[in-house]
Symmetry: C2
Subunit: 357 residues, 2 copies
């Protein structure tokens, strides 16, 4: 696979969407697919037209949820296409895979294949402010067998979706979050640190409740004491406490976000003191020392938190506005992503674009 | 759907398996399928040839694990076909569905459709001692959209698999179980009580470790204190303590087994004292009062436990043999299932068989 992956051409390219892009609703012309079997390992790597796949009704993914995914973005900047720390996504996928007994993938080869796919689909990368091409690698257990065991057959795919700006008008908009005190997302010893499919299905009920109550996101507490802050929906969470940047330490139940890791590095680089430690919900509610709160994730990048609701109480953060440290980190981070600020970390990975792919 | 479901005929029936059946490896000629959309509700109910289905690469089940399943059995007894408490399975499916934001199904209509399907496939029900037709209803989120939200489209299916006797030689065989003290299956507030796909993927790593250490099944402890007994692999667990039949109380993280519920009723009916309460691992290891342990589940029915391993200790139960109360319950229970003992509970549900279906 070090060589270019074979491309099966489409007869006709699709119309590009003209309405607002949203998230994960439109898909490009091509996708990358490869199969796994015990005797062949990963094989049959191919770039082929994006289309429905055939799957057995007894494929294990449909019954036992043996599936893992990743999410990252490609940005178009003039003539260049840039990925952001993509090797981290393949590393994390392999940690998720290991937890769910899914065979390891070759991250280096897949990164080459991904570059080829993205280059082929370069016209699908939207160029508007805040727009990008969302990249979804995922792996599913396809063995047609109802026994509960690690499957012997898998399919790995990469699909691409042009997505809109998270904040329509480009201003950071503080969100309202709801602290869930009944439902639990994950517990140490479980699969919370993995991007395992089942984690997301398990989160829907809380998300629905939060929405009904007028909050955009759920803030999860730990599964053991239901007291320590874990993360928010599909973001990690940061607090500015006495000017320090503080985030919950990775404990096995929190998803180790790549944005989280990058923001920690960036904040240190910018001279902030950073702490990774346990933070209880009482500390958050009762602290006059907390001046800002923000979430981090591939989709929203940085998302300021304006209001937090826990049981009967609702507190307002930074007067419901975006705090100055949040704004500073956001500007620096998106500047590095956009190439308008030098990248001292080597996070940007250019995708070579040739006319013929 | 109160009327017979439309049947799309196959051109050719498959060969029935002649080798040993195993579990969930062979599938019959037909399956039941219906679709859900927000505007139509459940619709398109049809019995059609068992074959691969088409699914979008962005179908939510493949990414977010929004899927629920059930498992039950049909037995062939001379000219009649019998299901065992099938209405309980559809009720449990609806409890699972509710937890995962999947729309409710109509259990009564589905039971009629199931009877029609099983009658159509009656020649697939194996007649050997301990053999049966395993029935797998399941529902998957099919909406092609990568947003994390309750899907707007689903597919519900029932597939059928002839399965072999759990104990090859018909004798009950005590199993060796491994008490998992690191991995956690579920926690209160999570989805442990639901037959949610993701629970099973999350359990694979522990099952693999147990197998490598020479144990057949994992005994799960609670997710909060990792101290209280929850359940075993795909079985609930019972202890005979001072002659009483004791099982962990349902607490939100344990799967409420239909065999568990039935064994409780049967044991009471037979005059045993039954207790549902918390049982700690210390109580199990240090008790001279525990004379028998057995698991209960659709696949194995009743499975005596001979050995329990926890950290450095291994204890032997009933001298590694099947205890007398276990044997008594097993004989009575399988007798009711087989129709050789009267069924005072109305558990057996006959499937009307006509020549023309
Ligand atoms: C549960 C969860 N937490 C946090 C994150 C943020 O991770 P990242 O920064 O890698 O996008 C995500 C999204 O990927 C997530 O799904
Ligand atoms: C996790 C789990 N526990 C217990 C059981 C036993 O339930 P039942 O008796 O309904 O088969 C099952 C199997 O269905 C299961 O998957």
């Amino acid at each position: 696979m070090k060589n270019a992956v074979e491309v099966i051409q489409r007869e006709q390219l699709k119309e590009k969407p003209t309405e607002s892009l949203g998230f994960g609703q439109h898909f490009t012309d091509y996708m990358f697919v490869m199969d796994y079997s015990v005797d062949k390992g990963w094989h049959n790597a191919v770039i082929q037209p994006y289309q429905n796949i055939e799957i057995s009704p007894s494929a294990q993914v449909l019954h036992y949820g043996q599936a893992v995914f990743e999410g990252m973005k490609a940005y178009r900047q003039g003539e260049s296409i840039v990925l952001f720390r993509p090797e981290e996504n393949f590393k994390r996928m392999n940690r998720s895979n290991a937890r769910l007994n899914i065979p390891e993938v070759d991250g280096e080869c897949l990164l080459e294949a991904l570059k080829q796919l993205v280059a082929l689909e370069k016209d699908w990368i939207p160029e508007g402010e805040g727009e990008s091409l969302y990249i979804r690698p995922f792996v599913i257990a396809t063995e047609p067998h109802l026994g509960v065991h690690a499957a012997l057959e898998y399919k790995f795919m990469i699909i691409l979706s042009p997505v809109g700006a998270y904040y329509g008008d480009e201003q950071l908009m503080p969100t309202r979050i709801y602290v869930e005190d009944e439902y639990v997302r994950a517990v140490r010893g479980g699969v919370g640190f993995a991007k395992a499919a089942g984690n997301y299905a398990a989160s829907l009920a809380a998300q629905t409740r939060a929405s009904e109550l007028g909050y955009q996101q759920v803030l999860w507490l730990d599964g053991v004491e239901q007291r320590y802050i874990e993360e928010v929906g599909s973001m990690n969470i940061f607090f500015v406490i006495d000017g320090k940047v503080v985030t919950p330490e990775l404990n096995g139940s929190i998803l180790p976000g790549i944005t989280r890791k990058s923001i920690i590095q960036l904040a240190e680089h910018l001279g902030y003191e950073v702490e990774e430690r346990r933070i209880s919900i009482e500390e958050v509610l009762d602290s006059e020392h907390i001046s800002e709160i923000f979430g981090t994730g591939t989709a929203a990048v940085l998302s300021p938190v304006g209001f937090i609701k826990y049981k009967e109480r609702e507190i307002k953060i930074s007067g419901g506005q975006t705090g100055s440290i949040t704004q500073h980190l956001y500007d620096q981070y998106t500047g590095i992503q956009a190439g308008t600020i030098p990248d001292p970390f080597g996070w940007r990975v250019e995708v070579p674009v040739t006319d013929k792919v």
